[in-house]
């Protein structure tokens, strides 16, 4: 214990006058009474002074001296050096990932509650002049409060933090914490996570004296680590679930499969510790849209006992090709079985457009032709004739030298394409709008442009295929397939979507979509568009079944369900964790060893002031009892 203001002990000198009151002779008023006969017993026990002033043991004297001692110590501003790592600028990295929902923390509802209690304890021992920051770590880190010495503000911020369903990505959180800690003086980092969580190498932040506190112990955790359903190509729908046991003992559970809200099958599985078990449903009802698998076992982490799957349904693509004749292009388009190709001459297209028999194709390809009226929807222009086009002014063809190079490919239309193998003899000079960006260049001449405006996607090949060696390359069908995928997507969601909480999900609206929204598992509608183009859907914080709703111009609604599951991305992730050698106690040899130091002073003035007050109250009570 130390004292910030030792001069406060001077107050103890008041003990001298107090003692004097008991030692020095008191001047008393003399009162003559008829007889002491009746007074003797009444005042015998209440005599405060002997006539000759010898100091006698006296409860009131003791209480007064004790109160004075408490007051003197309180005025000396006592403090104790707390052994905790709270010193200077402390950054707490609070793990809020899924694993913190495990209920194996003794005395707390879950690991996260225990972690919050630990942080609250750190706030309690925050010394004067020290500051604390709290970083919530999950899929992406977030600063909850930065460098605050206000305990109430810290507690309010801590109370507002809730655990997520996301996996932990500790590296960005540590990077953020490191930045925060270096912003102050005497920085340090405290990581509060779950038992068994694998953290990245802490050597990089060694100067910040990182310490790790682990919550929880040996959790029973049986989890669904994979669940997928799909068509095997024969029209038969099948599903596969994989169950992993992260707990310390063998677990038995029933596996329930629910299809479109109806319980379809129940299987029993017995999984050894550290093992996995697969459950296959080879034949499921055709046309099933939503599948749910659930483990009936009550373990320490219930969130990963349920998973969902929504088989992707690939719709046929309607493509209209307006060309005089292009066998290479027709052949490349015909390779995709989902393409319903309609090849028209410009005259036939004009007639069909005039009669309205063409409908609304998913993609219109204008190969060296320009109809009188440009169609709605997505466009692929090939060798556009001179004139104005949407976002484009096409000029005459010029000779092009050199091999092609990829300028950018944000749309993925040049994926797996070897640009260097493509040679173009002549290409049109084009002036494109900003939204139409070159993807393939030959020198400075753009060969391929792509862009999206409003709800229309458009790509432009500035050369005639016959004026290049592209038809002779295997890159032509690859490029056409890429262009079809981007210009005429038959699913609005990625075909191999395996989303986890916190992931971004790209959404490709169907042609003619006027409104796009997502219905979350809790029923909340999240609008994505308008405006177009829309970005990826990011509100994937909770696991469950989401529904992508797209409303077309005529009011028709297309609903595409998709699932967000708690599947681990790697074998090291997703379990509530086996305890380390000493759960909650980081190894002393590792960078996780707790920092040691002189500790921080914790003010104990209030304690001694309270003691002084208690002694004073007791003295008052003892004294008044005799009055």
């Amino acid at each position: 214990m130390g004292f910030a203001l030792p001069i406060g002990f001077a107050t103890a000198l008041l003990a001298l006058p107090i003692l004097a009151l008991y030692v020095l002779k008191l001047r008393r008023r003399e009162v003559v009474v008829g007889s002491m006969l009746l007074w003797g017993d009444a005042v015998r026990d209440l005599r405060a002074n002997a006539p000759w002033q010898r100091l006698r043991p006296n409860l009131l004297l003791f209480l007064q001296l004790a109160a004075l001692a408490g007051l003197a110590v309180a005025l000396a501003r006592p403090y104790v050096l707390h052994a905790s790592a709270v010193r200077g600028d402390l950054v707490v990295v609070l793990d809020a990932s899924l694993m913190m929902r495990a209920t194996d923390a003794a005395g707390y509802p879950d690991r996260f509650a225990a972690a919050k209690a630990r942080v609250s304890g750190l706030i309690d021992v925050l010394g004067p002049g020290d500051v604390m920051s709290i970083v919530r770590a999950a899929h992406t880190p977030r600063v909850v409060i930065a460098q605050s010495g206000d305990r109430e503000a810290l507690r309010r911020a801590l109370d507002a933090v809730a655990p997520s369903y996301e996996a932990l990505d500790a590296a960005p959180a540590l990077s953020l914490a490191s930045s925060l800690a270096r912003g102050g003086h005497d920085g340090s980092v405290r990581i509060i996570t779950g038992a068994g969580t694998v953290l990245p190498d802490l050597t990089a932040v060694r100067t910040l004296r990182p310490t790790v506190s682990r919550m929880g112990g040996t959790a029973r955790d049986l989890a669904i680590v994979a669940f997928a359903a799909g068509d095997d190509g024969t029209g038969t729908l099948s599903a596969l679930a994989r169950i992993a046991n992260y707990g310390p003992r063998r677990e038995s559970t029933d596996v329930e499969l629910t299809v479109d809200g109806r319980l379809l099958d129940v299987r029993s599985r017995d999984v050894p510790p550290g093992g996995q078990s697969d459950v296959l449903w080879p034949t499921l009802p055709t046309g099933s849209r939503v599948l749910q698998v659930h483990l009936t076992l009550h373990d320490d982490l219930a969130a990963d006992n349920t998973a969902w799957a929504a088989p992707v349904r690939a719709a046929p693509r309607r493509v209209v090709l307006v060309t005089a004749e292009n066998v290479f292009l027709r052949t490349a388009l015909a390779l995709d079985p989902s393409v319903r190709l309609t090849t028209l001459t410009p005259a036939a297209y004009a007639a069909g457009a005039a009669s309205g028999t063409l409908g609304s194709p998913d993609l219109t390809i204008l190969d060296g032709e320009r109809p009188a009226a440009l169609p709605e929807g997505n466009l692929l222009l090939i060798n556009p004739p001179v004139g104005e086009w949407p976002g484009l002014v096409s000029g005459p063809a010029v000779r092009v030298a050199g091999a092609a190079t990829i300028a950018q490919d944000s749309a993925g239309i040049l994926r797996y394409v070897q640009a260097a193998a493509i040679h173009v003899a002549a290409a049109r000079v084009v002036t494109a709008s900003a939204w139409l960006r070159p993807a393939l260049l030959a020198g400075a001449q753009p060969l391929l442009l792509a862009g999206e405006r409003a709800s229309r996607r458009m790509a432009v090949l500035t050369f005639d295929l016959h004026e290049s060696d592209l038809p002779l390359q295997p890159d032509l069908p690859i490029m056409v397939a890429n262009l079809l995928t981007w210009l005429a997507p038959n699913t609005s969601l990625p075909a191999t979507l395996a989303a986890r909480p916190g992931d971004l999900i790209p959404v490709a609206p169907v042609a003619g979509a006027r409104r796009v929204e997502v219905v979350r598992p809790d029923g909340l509608h999240v609008a994505l568009a308008p405006p177009f183009p829309l970005g990826p859907f990011s509100d994937t914080g909770q696991p469950g079944l989401y529904t992508l709703r797209q409303t077309r111009a005529g009011g028709a609604v297309q609903e595409d369900p998709f699932a967000v599951n708690l599947f681990p991305a790697s074998p090291n992730e997703g379990s509530s964790g086996q305890p380390s050698a000493a759960s909650g106690q980081p190894s002393a040899r590792s960078p996780e060893a707790p920092a040691t130091g002189p500790g921080v002073p914790v003010d104990t003035t209030g304690l001694f002031a309270g003691l002084a007050l208690a002694f004073l109250c007791t003295e008052w009570w003892v004294a008044s009892r005799g009055r």
Partner: protein, 301 residues
């Protein structure tokens, strides 16, 4: 002046009440156990030679032809003794300059008033001053003309028993009892704040065939102390000094002790056929004589 003239006239209407007949000396106005000559008929007795034939009931002789004497209640003088406690504690209640308001002054005035009532009833009065021993004694005397002498004796008495040992009321009462050769009434006027065994003194009076009335006189600050704080209490009688802190609890303890002491005196007096009254020196003499003593049967109209 002990008694106001106007108050003396009010005493003319009062007589001393006694529980039983007393044996006295000489003819007086108080009934005697002896058969005497008065107007109050008591009994018949057969005539014996030598009897006073004037007392023969001739009407009875006429009817029965036998001689009977008529017997009448003898009325004799009774001696009433007033024993005043002259210990220093009786000064309590007065001031340094005047004894007015003290317990002793109240005792003096009460003795004077009662002696007047006694003398007015053709009885005799004796007065004694008790302290360490019987300090002064006025032998019995009767007749209204001696009232002034009695009052003068009473007024000249002074509290005097000071000393480490205090007063010895028991010894003084025993001394007084030795002076009382015939039965009579004795009033003891004292605060009874003494360490001596007052019971033995009262017992000696009873042994001397005295009807004893004990009048305990206490000052207001003894009955209900108003003392508080750090004080040095000085015993008026012994001079002992004691430094104390008087709290409300101490006062409560004092009052409890006083009540117990009073109860002890009353119980003893009741067991020994002694009348007991506790009086406050703050009461006026008229209030004491005309209300308190009448109400308790010590005097009657």
């Amino acid at each position: 002046m002990l008694l106001e003239p106007s108050f003396i006239h009010r005493l003319d209407l009062l007589t001393l009440a006694t529980k039983a007949a007393t044996s006295g000396s000489g003819a007086g106005g108080r009934r005697s156990p002896a058969v005497g000559a008065s107007v109050e008929f008591r009994d018949f007795r057969t005539y014996s030679p030598g009897d006073d034939y004037r007392r023969v009931d001739w009407n009875t002789y006429a009817r029965l032809e036998r001689l009977f004497l008529r017997l009448y209640q003898a009325e004799e003088q009774t001696c009433v003794t007033f024993l005043l406690d002259c210990s220093a504690s009786m000064e309590q209640g007065g001031t340094a300059d005047s004894a007015e308001g003290s317990k002793f002054r109240a005792a003096q005035r009460l003795a004077a008033a009662l002696s007047y009532i006694v003398l007015h009833g053709d009885d005799m009065v004796a007065v004694g001053a008790v302290g360490q021993r019987l300090a002064a004694y006025l032998p019995p005397r009767g007749g209204r003309q001696v009232a002034g002498e009695v009052w003068g004796f009473v007024e000249r008495l002074q509290p005097s028993s000071r000393g480490p040992a205090g007063s010895d009321l028991a010894a003084a009462l025993r001394d007084a009892a030795a002076h009382l050769r015939r039965g009579g009434l004795t009033f003891v006027l004292s605060d009874l704040l003494t360490t001596s065994d007052w019971r033995r003194g009262l017992l000696a009076l009873r042994a001397a065939k005295q009807q004893v009335t004990l009048l305990q006189i206490l000052s207001p600050d003894e009955l209900n102390p108003s003392l508080r704080g750090d004080l040095a209490l000085v015993d008026r009688e012994t001079g002992a000094r004691r430094e104390v802190t008087v709290t409300a609890a101490a006062v409560r303890a004092y009052q409890e002790r006083l009540a117990a002491y009073t109860q002890e005196i009353a119980a003893y007096c009741h067991g020994h056929d002694i009348a007991f009254l506790q009086l406050s020196s703050a009461l006026s003499l008229a209030d004491v004589v005309l209300r308190v003593l009448r109400k308790n049967g010590v005097v009657r109209a």
